[in-house]
């Protein structure tokens, strides 16, 4: 039945393991996380089903039913027309709800196979499924699989190739639920089972009395862990590598190049008191590599490691439930916490996840708040490094200011903009033990992506800084912006160079503040403004795509207004 151009669609409820099976079938890399809405775009991959024949496999965003209720649903339902074969992924621990979509699919597509995923979890949940009976009653081929370990995937492939057309019977909604009841009566037995430790923890972290303190504790511990891991890495791996191995090499090249001159300054950087200084020299091979690799990469590594564990454990939807009431006050709903947290890693995936949000109003508010007050890990790393030298309380001050901006601006937007924030309605997935292999794979994906994206931009940024110095362009800009810069914010005119750089890379921009010998107050103001005045280029492009030009312009205007007024207020009150 399959041919070279066959399109094979993976369709199922959210969070049933479609992406896990997709990457098993195709070897392609996709994000897998224990919460609904991980897959926002379509991923495509190729699957070999005979030695030299391939089919195209598509990982479709999760849907509960073929009656589309949101834009994302529509995308998924539209895809259905193009598919030749359907792999309907169902969660074996939750058959009743999953089979509704199965029956709907059976009416629409004659060629479908059911992948009974999470097979490994059925036993300890006390669920016994008679696969043969289920196949017979459903009238579809059913294969038990485990997307995480790959169990059953081979059988799924084989049966996929030899799939036969099924007969269809059109049922009304109520008839479908009746039919599901009948099928499960025959094929599923539920045994009583003792609550596992994880399940007990699930209960206490869902109730508000215990859940809220747990949420605070989880977030606090996560940040402490991120710092601890990052600082340990910096101290024991990255700093030594850069001082003991890379520095002697750079010094050799530097002296070979004659220690000065245009090319020397571009490649190695200007010497500070006769030495190369990773923070201040601004050469491609010194600052250009040090910032992304030694200052930022350790934080990216540890952030994504902890985030990956939280994601696969299934904590994020619970956090979203805990903060829902607060989020409503700032015009959002609980799930908007997910793009915000992703944005803490890098605003680009955060902005992409804005698609999770339902309406234009909410997207606008979330995008504006993220751009203003969610600094990315690269920027945070540089702020912690630079401002931390003046005392931890100044770092805390900056983040306190950012949080205050979220609250004030959110409440304002929520009051002024017509409409209401939508109600939440989502499934809270069970806790699952994170799989070390899966966590590492996701970490690897995200880190390589960071390196591919960030390193060239940092190098470009460092290069541009050098050029602008040579051309004296900063002096010119500084004169134009002097009234705001020095007049309102109380910053020296040289900070303009950092603000310009901020459009390209915020981490480099913060780094450019280092040689300016700012007072602590100026440093706090400059770092805060760098965080809030505008998103970096890459984020801007994604936001533009998500919001459209009109909303993006409005949002940008708000950002600049916020920066001007917050900067002025800080200058007066600090």
């Amino acid at each position: 039945m399959l041919s070279r151009e066959s399109k094979i669609l993976l369709i199922g409820n959210p969070n049933v393991g479609k992406s896990a099976i997709f990457s098993r079938l195709t070897g392609a890399k996709v994000t897998i996380s224990n919460y609904p809405g991980t897959t926002v775009g379509l991923s495509q991959g190729y699957m070999k089903f005979r030695p030299d024949e391939m089919g195209i496999v598509i990982d479709v965003p999760g849907i509960y039913s073929l009656v589309p209720l949101s834009k994302a649903d529509e995308v998924a339902v539209d895809m259905l027309k193009e598919g030749d074969v359907i792999i309907n992924v169902v969660d074996a621990t939750n058959l009743e709800r999953n089979l509704f979509l199965t029956l709907e699919l059976k009416e629409k597509k004659p060629l479908s196979i059911v992948a009974l995923n999470m097979w490994d979890e059925t036993r300890h949940k006390g669920i016994e499924i008679d696969v043969e009976k289920l196949e017979r009653e459903l009238g579809l081929t059913v294969v038990p699989v485990c997307g995480i370990t790959g169990f059953g995937i081979k059988e799924l492939r084989e049966k996929l190739v030899n799939l036969k057309k099924t007969s269809k019977k059109v049922l009304t909604k109520d008839q479908k639920w009746e039919e599901i009841g009948r099928i499960l009566e025959l094929s599923q037995t539920l045994h009583h089972h003792h609550h596992t430790l994880l399940e007990r923890f699930e209960d206490i972290s869902t109730r508000p009395g215990t859940g809220l303190p747990i949420a605070v504790l989880v977030v606090y511990c996560s940040f402490m862990l991120i710092r601890l891991i990052a600082e340990t890495l910096i101290e024991n791996v990255f700093e030594p590598a850069f001082t003991n191995i890379w520095m002697p090499f750079l010094e050799r090249i530097s002296s070979l190049m004659g220690s000065e001159g245009f090319f020397h300054d571009v490649i190695i950087g200007r010497l500070i008191n006769g030495n190369i200084d990773y923070g201040q020299s601004f050469g491609l091979l010194s600052t250009g590599l040090y910032v992304p690799l030694a200052a930022v990469l350790p934080y990216i590594l540890s952030f994504y490691l902890i985030l990956g564990i939280l994601e696969d454990w299934g904590y994020l939807p619970r956090l979203a439930t805990q903060v829902d009431n607060f989020m409503h006050r700032i015009g959002l709903h609980g799930y908007a916490i997910v793009p915000m947290i992703l944005g803490l890693g890098c605003n680009v995936p955060g902005a992409m996840a804005l698609r999770l949000l339902e309406n234009r109003r909410e997207k606008f508010i979330a995008a504006t708040l993220m751009a203003v007050a969610v600094p990315c890990m690269a920027q945070i790393a540089m702020i912690v490094g630079l401002v931390g030298e003046r005392g931890g309380r100044y770092v805390a001050l900056i983040f306190g200011i950012l949080f205050l901006i979220v609250v004030v601006k959110g409440v304002l937007m929520n009051t002024i903009m017509p409409g209401k924030s939508p109600e939440i309605l989502w499934e809270i997935p069970p806790y699952r033990m994170p799989h070390p292999k899966a966590v590492i794979k996701k970490l690897w994906m995200r880190v390589t992506e960071f390196l591919k994206e960030a390193v060239p931009y940092v190098l470009l940024g460092v290069f541009i800084v050098n050029m602008l110095y040579v051309l004296n362009a900063f002096d010119f800009l500084a004169r134009i912006f002097a009234p705001v810069l020095t007049g309102m914010w109380g910053l020296p005119k040289e900070t303009i160079s950092a603000l310009m750089m901020g459009f390209l890379r915020k981490d480099v921009a913060v780094g450019m503040l280092a040689p300016l010998s700012l007072t602590t107050k100026q440093l706090v103001i400059a770092c805060t403004i760098l965080a809030i005045y505008f998103p970096c280029m890459a984020t801007f492009v994604v936001m533009l795509r998500e919001l459209g030009i009109k909303d993006m312009l409005k949002s940008a205007l708000l950002m600049i207004l916020t920066a001007v007024s917050v900067g002025a207020l800080l200058n007066i009150f600090l």
């Binding site: 039913s65 009431n325 607060f326 309605l425």
Partner: protein
């Protein structure tokens, strides 16, 4: 016992769903998650400050916004 809405139910109480008192999309979304008239549910918790209500339907935990929860009529056994 008479009918209540979901926000009035107490934690750990079992109840039967009587009616979903809302528009088409509202009913569709809830039914897709398995919440439909005739079904047994157990309330897990509600959150203060008009926060969401969490319930257990079959083996699934669902979080439902306060406004929506008010439109779900249930009967305690």
């Amino acid at each position: 016992m008479g009918s209540l809405n979901l926000t009035q139910l107490k934690a750990k109480q079992h109840a039967k769903v009587l009616e979903l008192d809302g528009g088409y999309a509202f009913v569709q979304r809830l039914e897709a998650l398995g919440v439909r008239p005739g079904i047994q549910i157990t309330k897990i918790s509600s959150h203060f400050w008009k926060g969401p209500v969490t319930v257990l339907v079959g083996k699934t935990k669902i979080a439902i916004g306060y406004g929506m929860a008010k439109k779900i009529k249930v009967m305690v056994k």
